[in-house]
Amino acid sequence: AGEDKITVRWGLNQSLPAGTDSAYKTIKVQLCYAPISQVDRAWRKTEDHLSKDKTCQFKIVKRPYTTGNQTLEWTIERDVPTATYFIRAYALDANDHEVAYGQNTDVKKTTNLFEIQAISGRHVSLDIASVCFSVFSIVSLMGFFFVEKRKGRKAQQ
């Protein structure tokens, strides 16, 4: 994530009758979670009702539909988590409703999947800051104890 690129190619299936794509106005290409990355994660669940479906959470591109094949080179964004993915393209009509789709995997979503590795989000400066502040907390506690003991001993003398 953040560094590598994915090249996506899409186009209307030529074996379909002409005019099938008359309603297509926009193409939306999305990055979607493969079933293995959905296990035990209800926030990525696939639902038939598209407005509740959470399979595809990342938009790669949304552009007007044109006939012929299209290509895009997409740099994976830095907030994409570590998971197994496939790519799906939705064709939207003038009302922004999904009327057709295609994906780079089979119906069962088992073939042609790929993995993306997320950034950790960690930085050396953060690591150092965490350790320093933690050590400071403990040391200051010991410091307080030391001062208290000394005050106590002085009061007794």
Binding site: V39, D40, R41, A42, W43, K52, R78, D79, P81, T82, A83, A118, I119, S120, G121, R122, H123, L126, D127, A129, S130, V131, F133, S134, F136, S137, I138, S140, L141, F144, F145, E148, G152, A155, Q156
Partner: protein
């Protein structure tokens, strides 16, 4: 060796508030920060608030964290249980530490020792490290015990319920406030330019720093008792250093501590459980946006601003007229009603009704928490810390148990789980019937008519005759005298003149 010459004097010049013979304040002035009483109150609730913010800082940011650390729902659930289970034993240990070392050192130590866990949350990189930081951060919830102990040491019977209720309520507020604070801090940091997966990490420094600073404030500005700190008082001989084994023994052998531990598990434990599951419940059942569900979840915790203090105030009001029996009746009634509204919450199907019932439920459940700590200060004087720790620990046990029985996996739908939890609340509140103080009575029985039933007898029974011979019981003696207000109005005025020689009260 100081001779206590202050038994009959009230020394109004020495303290900003009126005090009793133990120099505990008999009034509670919320908007004052006068040392030592009100200052202790403010230090107490603010530090406890910061620990709650830290412990529940992760849940509102989970949508980001779960993607960054590749967590499953099971990982998240386990971390949630871990976050409240650490405090079970930490609270009991804290209670003992307060009895032995004083609340100031005990709480500041715990807060500074758990702050690293919050700092290290920023560098967590796996489900296991996430679980570990939540587990150790959760230990800080033991500051609840030191806060209650501190309030019980600074405030006298007539206002101890109120002081305990406000301190704990405003501390618990942290659990609700954090649901609003953390997303805000996260957005700010992300808008400055950090990536999502880095922004949440930086955000955790805020609760961590807050926690560290509140511990410093306690150490610099706080003191254990109205007369000073444990160490100085022990050195000058005014306060005797007690033995751990005796303190612990008298705490765990007092059956009332165990009953309150159980019942607290079904008001506070329920509150913690709901903190963990309610956002998801509203999100799933009513298809709300996560943001909206989060606000509703926050409002459950934010009700603590008034409801828990109200419980404490109610406890004190009942005690004024009906004594300890009034406190017990109010506790049973309010907590049972909390259970009833919980049952209803699981049954209602509309969003508006659910929100209304949830708010009513939260008021009763949190007030019950406040009422519980109107009773706890009187269960033991010598082992106040252990009893507070047992009760507090019992609260967390209730949270762990309830989450495991009703909200783990898919055995019950969330709404069924909520209804069943309500039934369990009602059942586990019944043991309050069994609490009995010989000198004050219980819910169904009046005080014992035998000659031995006085406050002195009850509190001095915690000291052996050898220990009494050494004069170790003086503080308990003063407390016994001050606790006579728990007899309520009618009986109190009759016994005012005859407190030296116990006479049979018919």
């Amino acid at each position: 060796m100081e001779i206590s010459s202050t038994i009959t004097e009230t020394e109004p010049q020495k303290f900003a508030l009126p005090v009793d013979s133990e120099h505990k304040a008999t009034e509670f002035h919320l908007f004052s920060a006068a040392a030592p009483h009100m200052r202790a109150f403010h230090l107490s609730w603010i530090s406890f608030f910061s620990c709650f913010v830290s412990t529940f800082a992760a849940p509102p940011l989970l949508p980001i964290i779960r993607d960054n650390l590749n967590l499953t729902a099971t990982d998240i659930g386990n971390a949630g249980v871990a976050s409240v289970s650490g405090a079970v034993f930490a609270r009991i240990a804290m209670g003992t530490a307060c009895d032995l070392f004083g609340p100031r050192l005990a709480s500041a130590s715990l807060i500074l020792l758990t702050a690293p866990a919050v700092y290290f949350t920023s560098i967590a990189s796996s489900p296991i490290s996430f679980l570990l930081v939540r587990f150790f951060t959760g230990f800080s919830l033991a500051t609840f015990v030191s806060a209650q102990f501190w309030m019980s040491s600074m405030f006298s019977g007539p206002v101890v319920g109120t002081a305990n209720g406000v301190a704990a309520g405003w501390g618990n507020l942290g659990g609700g406030a954090t649901q609003l604070i953390m997303p805000l801090v996260f957005s700010l940091i992300r808008d400055i330019g950090a990536v999502k997966f880095t922004a949440w990490r930086i955000a955790f420094f805020i609760p961590a720093l807050f926690q560290t600073l509140s511990a410093f404030a306690i150490l610099i500005f706080g003191q254990d008792l109205p007369d000073g700190n444990y160490q100085r008082l022990q050195n000058s001989g005014t306060k005797q250093k007690d033995k751990f084994s005796r303190v612990f023994y008298h705490g765990i052998t007092n059956y009332r501590g165990w009953i309150l531990a159980l019942t607290y598990g079904y008001c506070f434990g329920v509150e913690l459980t709901v903190d963990n599951i309610i956002a998801e419940y509203f999100y799933d059942r009513f298809n709300l946006k996560l943001h909206t569900a989060g606000i509703i979840a926050a409002s459950f915790g934010l009700a603590n601003l008034v409801s828990r203090p109200a419980g404490g105030v109610l406890s004190d009001m009942m005690a004024k007229r009906f004594g300890m029996r009034g406190r017990l009746w109010a506790l049973w009634a309010v907590q049972t009603l909390g259970g009833v509204f919980c049952i209803i919450l699981g049954q209602v199907g509309s969003l508006t009704a659910s929100i209304v019932v949830m708010i009513v439920f939260s008021v009763f459940v949190q007030a019950a928490c406040g009422l519980t700590f109107g009773v706890v200060p009187f269960v033991s004087r010598r082992s106040l810390g252990v009893i507070s720790g047992m009760t507090g620990g019992g609260g967390n046990v209730g949270a762990v148990l309830t989450q495991l029985i009703f909200f783990k996996g898919s055995k019950y739908s969330k709404e069924t789980g909520i209804t069943l939890m309500g039934i369990m609340i009602v059942c586990c509140t019944l043991p309050i019937f069994l609490i009995y103080f010989p000198q004050w009575g219980g819910m169904f029985c009046g005080p014992s008519l035998e000659k031995i039933a006085t406050e002195e007898d009850y509190y001095l029974s915690e000291w052996s005759s050898k220990e009494q011979g050494k004069g170790l019981h003086q503080a308990s003696l003063k407390f016994a005298d001050n606790s006579r207000s728990e007899r309520g109005r009618r009986v109190h005025s009759q016994t005012l003149s005859s407190n030296a020689t116990p006479s049979a009260n018919v």
